[in-house]
Symmetry: C2
Subunit: 225 residues, 2 copies
């Protein structure tokens, strides 16, 4: 058993899955954390999380229901009365932005890391090839790292690994293939949970990555793009 | 109606209640936030929150259940198999510390503030006369302020008010009396929800404040100290 532990936030999507595999590659024992926050594809992501953890032999898993996200709403991912944009990525912060989601996720994951004595926490944020969410930037994660270390016990010294933050989507696909990440088990679509829509921002970014990497995405899509 | 809004984290205790009254005094419309996180005195605190909000004429209230704190545990407040210390405040971080609780609370409150367009968020942290929690310090709250502003929309500019951070408990009692804060509605005890124990750290700090302010605490105690 490895001596060092990494708490990995794993949505079931391609990016956070690769991040967890990279932590494993670096020799960490993985503690998997998955949040069910009332997002449209909650069931599918939850299933993907467990399948990926099985593949990665993650035995310690936290699946935390965060129902309060529904009470807050203010996002097309958690409020089904607001449509998910499908016309392509536009400048600005899209309606799929969930207010301070990664701040909340990192705070809860930090509490778990402190409890477990983990020294690293991973998150699969991607800054460039992204939807433009403010909570997916390097400068934000670095600031949260400082906040977490100030707001926890002196003996808790936590790093936050964001190994994908500067990568392009095609680099993520290539790296995932190299590490034999089970991409067929991952799910990225914002709105469907059986056949990916192919037209939401998340599908578009994923498909762009596979296209530029000259690889066929193994998951089913309803719209060829 | 005032034009500016403050989101106030209100536990139902003396400190966060005074913080909310101070925001009201400063001319803010108050949005009250209360977290039920599986703490021992959850029911009592929840009742206190609503009674205080009624007194303060707060119409917009968020009561968010955070059941995942029970899954994390690692605190005598959320894990009833661990005793709450009653022998007096000792150096170091006590077992009542809930890992990164205020980081989690501030992150969720920030999401609500962003949704509501509030410009200030208040928290009743007290640094000196405290149990020594790392997430109750000025330096931590200032760092979280920076993190929140980096991780939310560019149009979201949030300040965090911590008006009690440098106060002594007797100053808090005196200020509360001056503002006619309904201290009889507040609840601070960590372990009981009908008659306060008088011997947990929170009761001891509260009673010390009343004693030094030469005021009789209006809530019932089972142990005179």
């Amino acid at each position: 058993m490895a001596e060092k532990q990494a708490v990995c936030i794993m949505s079931g999507g391609m990016d956070s899955t690769l991040a967890a595999y990279l932590m494993k590659e670096d020799g960490y024992d993985i503690i998997g954390i998955h949040f069910s926050y009332g997002q449209r594809t909650e069931f599918k992501e939850h299933t993907a999380f467990h399948a990926i953890c099985d593949h990665l032999h993650v035995t310690k898993r936290y699946v935390l229901p965060l129902e309060f996200f529904k009470d807050i709403g203010a996002s097309s991912l958690t409020d089904t009365t607001v449509s998910v944009p499908t016309e392509g990525i536009e400048p600005g912060v899209p309606t799929t932005y969930v207010p301070f989601r990664n701040g909340i996720f990192l705070s809860i994951a930090a509490a778990i890391a402190e409890k477990e004595g983990a020294e690293v926490l991973s998150i699969g944020v991607v800054e460039e090839d992204s939807s433009g969410y403010p909570d997916c930037t390097k400068v934000f994660i670095e600031s949260m790292t400082q906040s977490i270390n100030l707001g926890t016990k002196a003996s808790t010294k936590l790093q936050i690994a964001m190994p994908l933050v500067t990568l392009k989507k095609e680099e993520i696909v290539a790296k995932a293939l190299q590490l034999e990440v089970p991409l067929h088990l991952t799910w990225s679509c914002y709105q469907n949970d059986t056949v990916a829509c192919g037209v939401c921002d998340s599908c578009r970014l994923r498909l762009k990555g596979f296209a530029l990497a000259n690889i066929l995405d193994p998951i089913p899509y309803e719209t060829a793009t």
